[in-house]
Amino acid sequence: MLRLIAVAAGVVVLAGCAAPQTSTVTVLAAASLTDALDEASAAYRAEHPDVEIVVGYGGSSALAEQIVSGAPADVFFAANEATMQTVVDASLAVDPEVLLTNTLELVVPAGNPGEVRGLADLADPQLVVALCDPSVPCGAAAVQLLDLAGVTASVDTYEDDVRAALTKVALGEVDAALVYRTDVAAAGDAVEGIEIPEAASVVNRYPVALLADAADPAAAQEFLDFLRSAEGREVFERAGFVAP
């Protein structure tokens, strides 16, 4: 039995040694970056086939908390500066730089069954309304926006990231939600977007940073440089993000 364990341990060690010579960059990124960052990673991979880009998407605050708790990652791309700050405060992020900005939009299922016209309709208790939880960036922005517009929304569910809210609209389970305009664009024909005049005054700024505990800082930095380059920015701008 002991010999068996020794053999198993040997296999594990060998597997570690036999890893191919490619490097892997692990990115933790805001859920709203899902499609655009996938596209940017694919573009980067086309030029650097020896680099593997692994992206974990989620609510920025949950990701920040994971990084602070020791999640192994090389790059953090957050949907607002407050969540990035928690990682900076833990001395785990190096010189974050705001790369993109995004604003909110109302999203309704295709055909707009709830006949939503604007922000004021979110106060209608008859409608099923989803917002992001205020602890994640899109929720924090939604709270600001509703305050600004003087609307008390009749909310049915607080989703833990923006894509969860978007999906429930796309499924038709929710009549209206506040998501980023880039999410509306990414969801295609399943949803319709309704522009909100006040949205321009609540801008989410997306900082990206190399993490202090990056396993391969050089490879991660090179990927970051690509995201900052004209080619990288163009991918995000096509998705509807705006340069700061």
Binding site: S61, E65, D156, T157, Y158, G172, E173
Partner: protein, 275 residues
């Protein structure tokens, strides 16, 4: 009725071998140390304040209430399923296995998948949900949706506990009752049910604790709104985004409630079933 359950042979010398002991110790450490970590890291000084907050009390009340209703639903529908399952030994192989698989699925399914499935069935655009919506009933994002999600994941625990009890019960009393002129209904109510009561109680306790801990199906199908659908596990998960101390406090409440239920009911209601 109590039979000594001590096995006659554990290893040749009556003791487990060193390899078994080491592996068991590692396994136990994995089971117990995380909970110990939770206790050590808990913000004990701030705990009373954190626990007295409205958000925590609201989530606790919602969790206890929905888990209790789910347990009642599991008992109502699960006991008949268990009876059906115990009768299925007389069926053909295919229907018997299909029935068992249907009951086992929620047990092995990731709860999130269960939540998606429930949404696609009972959501406003779901297969059944669209008919319900026409008569003015919408289920997602309501407390009812929480109960349905909990019942879905907890029911198999009750069914299998009761079925196990039915299988090991001495069925001769039922035959005797039937011979003495009892109707099948009377036999079930007056003989079978008391016979399997410990199994039912054990199943109900497992069911309640499983419902209390339900997360994935609930957040997918019922969403998260304070006081309506945000149960303790969801509140704890969300608090982890921004306020780990509150998340830990909520986790402690869940742990405490589960332990109280398991330990408190052990001796009184579950003789010989949960030891």
């Amino acid at each position: 009725m109590r039979v000594s359950s001590r096995p006659k042979h554990v290893g040749r010398s009556g003791r487990a071998g060193p390899v078994v002991a080491v592996l068991a110790a590692v396994g136990l450490a994995l089971l117990v140390l995380p909970l110990l970590g939770l206790l050590l890291r808990a913000p004990w000084a701030e705990l009373p304040g954190l626990l007295a907050s409205e958000a925590v009390l609201q989530a606790l009340g919602l969790s206890l209430g929905t888990a209790a209703v789910s347990t009642v639903l599991c008992l109502t529908f699960g006991i008949p399923i268990a009876v059906l399952l115990s009768h299925s030994v007389h069926w053909g192989v295919v229907p018997r296995r299909l029935l068992r698989a249907a009951i086992t699925i929620p047990l092995v399914l990731p709860p999130v998948v269960g939540g998606i499935a429930l949404l696609l069935l009972l959501g406003r655009r779901g297969i059944v949900g669209q008919w319900l919506a026409e008569i003015g009933i919408t289920i997602p994002f309501t407390t009812g949706a929480v109960v349905i999600a909990q019942t879905f994941v907890a029911m198999p625990f009750l069914v299998f506990a009761v079925e196990g009890a039915l299988r090991s019960a001495d069925r001769r009393s039922e035959l005797a009752a039937a011979t003495l002129g009892a109707t099948p209904g009377q036999t079930f109510r007056l003989v079978t049910l008391p016979l399997v009561a410990p199994g039912i109680a054990a199943g109900a306790v497992l069911c309640f604790t499983r419902a209390l801990g339900e997360f994935g199906a609930t957040i997918t199908f019922a969403g998260s709104f304070p006081g309506v659908t945000r149960t303790l596990p969801i509140a704890s998960y969300l608090a982890m985004n921004s306020d780990p101390d509150t998340a830990i406090a909520l986790a402690l409440v869940l742990l405490a409630v589960s332990l109280v239920v398991l330990l408190g009911l052990r001796d009184r209601w579950l003789p010989g079933v949960v030891k």
